[in-house]
C-alpha cells in the first residue's frame, strides 16, 4: 500500500498496469457497436462534463493516473507522482513522448489548463467543487506539475484516476484549444486515448476510430460506435438482433439476458445498496423529534432502526430483486473486496421479523407506525424502486404502514439538499466515487455537508475529519476497520442491504476483456477482444 503515497513507481509497474493482454497479434479490425442509455451532456469541453458521459468519453481521453487489477493507483499520463506536506501537495511527473491525436506532446501546461477549466466559475463538471480547493498549480518543468492545497487532500489521486466511474478530469490539449478555439475544440475534440474522434450526431451516435500503435494499448476493434437507446427493452432487442454488440442494462435484466442466450459482463461490487432513513439531522431546523428512528431518546431510536433492519430479508432481496448480483453486507458502504472490511463487518444483519416486532414494542410502537417510502430511480440504478418496494412489503409484515411515493429524482435532489424529508425512507445505492467509504460520507453524512443521505453525528464528523487528514493509507485502513466500520454497524444510521454488481449485455461477436475493480459503468474499451 505504501506505493500510493510517496510513491515513486517503477517502470516495471507501469508495464504491469497495462492490464491488457497485449494485443501484439493484430491490427484493429471490425466495428464494435455499443447501445447506451445516455450520452450525458454531449459536450466535449472539460467544464461541461456532468459525469454521466464517462462511459462514452473514456475511449477518447486519458487521466493522469489509473487503477490496476488490485485497485491500486497506477501511472497513466503521469509516470510517477509524489504526495508531499501530508497531502497538501501532489506532484505529478508526466510521461514523455505521449502525443494528442493532433500530434502535440502532452505537457504540464495541458494539465494546468485542464484543471483550471474544471474549476472555473460556472463549471458544471462534477469534480468542480473539489478542484476549486486547489490553491495553486506550479509548473516545475515541461513535464512536472505540483498541485497545492490549503488543507490536506489525501485522496486527490482518486480524483484524477481513469480507474473509477465519473473520473472526468481528462487531460485536454491547451494548444488545440488555443488554435481551434472553444468551437473548434468542441467540434473536433482531441485527446490522447486509444480511440480518436470521428463523428458525433447529437442524441444519436458517437463514432470513434482506433489509434494505430497507441502508446498504451492499441484497440482490437477498428471502429467503436456508441448509439443512444433510452429504452432498455429496445437495447435488449438490438443485442438479440445483432445490431448492438454490447449494451448497458440494469441488474433486473440478468435472467432475461441468460434466457435469450446472451452473455453477461459483470462489474463486481460497484454499488452499495442501503436504506436511507430521513430525519437524522438533530442540529438542523427541519429536525422532527417525532420521527421514530431519529427521536431524541437515542436508545429508543436505535431500537427502531435495528427493528427496521431485522425486518428485511436482505438475502431474498439480493436473490430476487438484484438477480443474485451481489451479496448482503452488514455495514453501509463496505464491500466484500475492501481490505478494511472484516468478516464481522460484512456479516449481514439477520432476518428476524419476530425480534423486529419485539423491538418495536419495546420502543413504544407495538402497532407499528406510518412511514413514507420514496421510490426514486437514479440513472444506471433502475433497480432502486424495486428494492424500495420489496423493503416496504417487509416492513408491512412487521406492522408498519408504508405509503409509497414515486418521486422524480429532481424533486428528491432538492429534498436532500434542503434536508426536507424527515420520516421518509428510500432505497439508495451509493456510487463508488472512491474506494474508501469515508470519501462518500464526507459528501453526504457530515454535519457540514451540503446534502444529507445518512446521519449527522459528532462521532461520525470526527471520524471523517480524521480520515480526511490522515496521510498514511495504512492508518486510514486501520481507522476504517477498527473504528468507522464497527460504529456504523452498531448505530445503523442507514440500513445496509447489499454490495451489488452491475452488468452489461454482451453479444456473440465479442470476446472477454479485463475490468478495473470498483469501476461502475462499462470501461476499458481498448481491451475488448474480438471472437
Amino acid at each position: 500500500m505504501t506505493q500510493r503515497l510517496f510513491a515513486i513507481v517503477s517502470i516495471v509497474l507501469v508495464l504491469f498496469c497495462a492490464l491488457a493482454v497485449a494485443p501484439a497479434d493484430a491490427k484493429p479490425e471490425g466495428t464494435l457497436t455499443v447501445a447506451v442509455a445516455t450520452f450525458g451532456n454531449e459536450r466535449w469541453l472539460p467544464n461541461l462534463y456532468v459525469g454521466a458521459e464517462d462511459v462514452v468519453l473514456k475511449p477518447l481521453w486519458e487521466n493522469l493516473l489509473s487503477r490496476d487489477a488490485k485497485g491500486n493507483l497506477t501511472p497513466m499520463l503521469a509516470e510517477r507522482w509524489e504526495v508531499l506536506d501530508g497531502g497538501r501537495t501532489w506532484k505529478f511527473h508526466l510521461r514523455k513522448g505521449v502525443r494528442f491525436h493532433n500530434g502535440t506532446e502532452v505537457t504540464a501546461e495541458d494539465v494546468r489548463h485542464t484543471f483550471a477549466s474544471i474549476a472555473k466559475e460556472g463549471s458544471a463538471n462534477s469534480l468542480a467543487p473539489e478542484f476549486r480547493q486547489i490553491k495553486s498549480m506550479e509548473i516545475e518543468g515541461p513535464h512536472v506539475i505540483a498541485v497545492r492545497f490549503d488543507k490536506p487532500f489525501v485522496t486527490f489521486g482518486n480524483r484524477v484516476t481513469h480507474g473509477l466511474f465519473a473520473s472526468v478530469a481528462y487531460i485536454q490539449s491547451k494548444k488545440h484549444f488555443e488554435t481551434a478555439g472553444e468551437q473548434g475544440a468542441e467540434r473536433q475534440p482531441v485527446g490522447t486515448g486509444p480511440y480518436k474522434f470521428v463523428e458525433h450526431v447529437r442524441g444519436d451516435r458517437i463514432v470513434y476510430e482506433a489509434v494505430d500503435n497507441h502508446w498504451r494499448a492499441t484497440p482490437h476493434y477498428k471502429r467503436l460506435v456508441f448509439v443512444k437507446v433510452p429504452e432498455p427493452a429496445t437495447r435488449m432487442a438490438m443485442l438479440r438482433a445483432g445490431s448492438a454488440d454490447v449494451i448497458e442494462i440494469g441488474g433486473e435484466y440478468v435472467d432475461e439476458l441468460k434466457k435469450v442466450g446472451m452473455r453477461l459482463l459483470t462489474m463486481p461490487n460497484v454499488a452499495a445498496v442501503w436504506v436511507i432513513l430521513g430525519g437524522q439531522w438533530p442540529t438542523k431546523p427541519t429536525y422532527d423529534p417525532k420521527v421514530p428512528w431519529a427521536q431524541p431518546d437515542a436508545e429508543k431510536a436505535l431500537k427502531v432502526r435495528t427493528a427496521l433492519a431485522l425486518a428485511i430479508d436482505k438475502k431474498a432481496i439480493v436473490d430476487r430483486v438484484l438477480g443474485g448480483l451481489g451479496a448482503p453486507v452488514g455495514t453501509v458502504n463496505y464491500y466484500p473486496t475492501d481490505p478494511w472490511a472484516t468478516k464481522a463487518l460484512l456479516e449481514p444483519i439477520p432476518y428476524d421479523p419476530a425480534k423486529a416486532k419485539q423491538l418495536l414494542a419495546e420502543a413504544g410502537y407495538p402497532n407499528g407506525f406510518e412511514v413514507t417510502m420514496n421510490l426514486t430511480a437514479w440513472p444506471g440504478r433502475g433497480f432502486l424502486p424495486d428494492v424500495g418496494e420489496a423493503v416496504a412489503t417487509y416492513w408491512e409484515k412487521v406492522g408498519l404502514k408504508v405509503k409509497r411515493r414515486p418521486v422524480d429524482r429532481a424533486v428528491f435532489a432538492a429534498n436532500f439538499r434542503a434536508r426536507s424529508y424527515p420520516g421518509v425512507a428510500l432505497a439508495y445505492a451509493g456510487p463508488i466515487i472512491a474506494p474508501e467509504p469515508w470519501e462518500l460520507f464526507q459528501r453526504i453524512a457530515r454535519t457540514k455537508a451540503a446534502v444529507h443521505l445518512l446521519t449527522e453525528h459528532p462521532k461520525l464528523d470526527a471520524l471523517v475529519d480524521r480520515l480526511g487528514t490522515e496521510a498514511s493509507p495504512a492508518e486510514r485502513a486501520r481507522i476504517m476497520r477498527e473504528e468507522l466500520g464497527p460504529w456504523l454497524r452498531e448505530q445503523l444510521p442507514g440500513i445496509p442491504i447489499a454490495a451489488t454488481h452491475s452488468i452489461a449485455g454482451v453479444g456473440p461477436k465479442v470476446g472477454d476483456w479485463p475490468l478495473i475493480p470498483g469501476h461502475m459503468g462499462i470501461h476499458n474499451w481498448e481491451h475488448v477482444t474480438r471472437k
Partner: protein, 290 residues
C-alpha cells in the same frame, strides 16, 4: 362488472407480495402454483388479482377524468356556442391553446411538478381532454340554436340559462354520451403511456398500463406479467370503442347523417400520441354550425 365486484372476485390482495414467489408462471405451465392462475409478477404479486383490481383503477381514472373534462368542456361549449360573440371567440381561442399543447409532454411536466398520484393523473388527463368536449358541444349548440323551438323560447322571454338547460343541453346529451364512450378507451391508453414514461398511476396500485409497462422488459422470462393486462386492456378498449361506434350509429339519429358524423369522429380518434389536437375540429366544427 369486474371493476365493481373486485373485492369479491379477486382471489388475493393485489398489492400483497412475497418476493420469494416472484415470476411464477401461469397455471398451465411448468413450475406453476395453483394459487396464482395467471402467475405472479416481479414482486410475487398475483397477476389475476391485479388485473381484476386494475379494472377498477383504470375505469375509475377514465370515468373521473372524463367526468371532470366533460362537465367543464360541456359548460364552456354550451355557453360559448349559445352566446357567441367575444365570449365565444375567447373560449374558442382558449380551446385552440388547449388543443395545441403537446398533450403527453405537458402531462409529463405537470406530473413532474407535483408527484405521481391518483388525483394528479386524473387532473392532468381531465385538463387535457376538456377542449375536445368544448369543441364538439359548441358545434352542436350552434346547430341547435338555429332551431325553431329555441327561437320560440327566446320570444317567450326565457332566460339564457333556462334555454341552455332546458332546450339545448338535452339535445347535446347523445353527442356527449358518444364522445364520452369513445374517450374511455383513449384515457385507458393514455394512462398506460404515462406509466411507460414513469409518470402514471403510482405503484403499487395495479393499473393496467403500469403492469404492461413494468413487464415490458421481461418477455422472454415472464411474458405473462404484461401479456394478460395487455389482453385485458385490448379487449376493454376494443369493446368501448365498438360500443361508441354503435352508439353513434344507432342512438343518435342526428349523428347518423354523414356530414355530422365526421365531426364527432375525428376528435375521438386522436391517438394517445399525437395529442388530441390532431383533429380538423375547427373546420368541421364550423361546418356543423352552418
Amino acid at each position: 362488472m369486474a371493476a365493481v365486484f373486485a373485492p369479491y372476485l379477486a382471489p388475493r390482495s393485489p398489492t400483497d407480495g412475497d418476493i420469494t414467489k416472484k415470476s411464477i408462471p401461469p397455471a398451465w405451465m411448468e413450475g406453476a402454483d395453483p394459487e396464482h392462475p395467471l402467475g405472479t409478477d416481479r414482486f410475487g404479486r398475483d397477476v389475476l388479482s391485479r388485473i381484476i383490481w386494475g379494472s377498477r383503477i383504470s375505469l375509475m381514472v377514465s370515468l373521473v377524468a372524463i367526468g371532470v373534462a366533460g362537465t367543464l368542456g360541456t359548460l364552456l361549449g354550451l355557453v360559448s356556442g349559445y352566446r357567441g360573440g367575444l365570449l365565444d371567440a375567447f373560449f374558442m381561442r382558449l380551446t385552440d391553446v388547449g388543443l395545441s399543447l403537446p398533450i403527453i409532454l405537458i402531462a409529463v411536466v405537470m406530473v413532474a411538478v407535483s408527484e405521481p398520484s391518483f388525483g394528479n393523473v386524473i387532473l392532468v388527463i381531465a385538463l387535457l381532454l376538456w377542449p375536445r368536449f368544448a369543441r364538439q358541444i359548441r358545434g352542436e349548440t350552434l346547430a341547435i340554436k338555429e332551431q325553431d323551438f329555441v327561437a320560440l323560447a327566446v320570444v317567450a322571454g326565457r332566460s339564457s340559462a333556462w334555454i341552455i338547460a332546458r332546450h339545448i343541453f338535452p339535445n347535446v346529451v347523445p353527442t356527449l354520451l358518444v364522445i364520452s364512450t369513445l374517450q374511455v378507451g383513449y384515457v385507458i391508453l393514455l394512462e398506460g403511456t404515462l406509466s411507460f414514461l414513469g409518470v402514471g398511476v403510482p405503484p403499487p396500485n395495479p393499473a393496467w398500463g403500469l403492469m404492461i409497462a413494468d413487464g415490458r422488459g421481461f418477455l422472454a422470462t415472464a411474458w405473462w406479467m404484461s401479456f394478460f393486462p395487455g389482453l385485458a386492456m385490448l379487449l376493454t378498449v376494443l369493446a368501448v370503442n365498438l360500443m361508441g361506434d354503435w352508439l353513434r350509429d344507432h342512438l343518435d339519429p342526428k349523428l347518423r347523417q354523414a356530414g355530422r358524423a365526421t365531426l364527432t369522429d375525428s376528435p375521438l380518434e386522436s391517438p394517445v400520441e399525437p395529442p388530441v389536437g390532431a383533429t380538423p375540429a375547427t373546420p368541421s366544427g364550423r361546418r356543423a354550425g352552418l
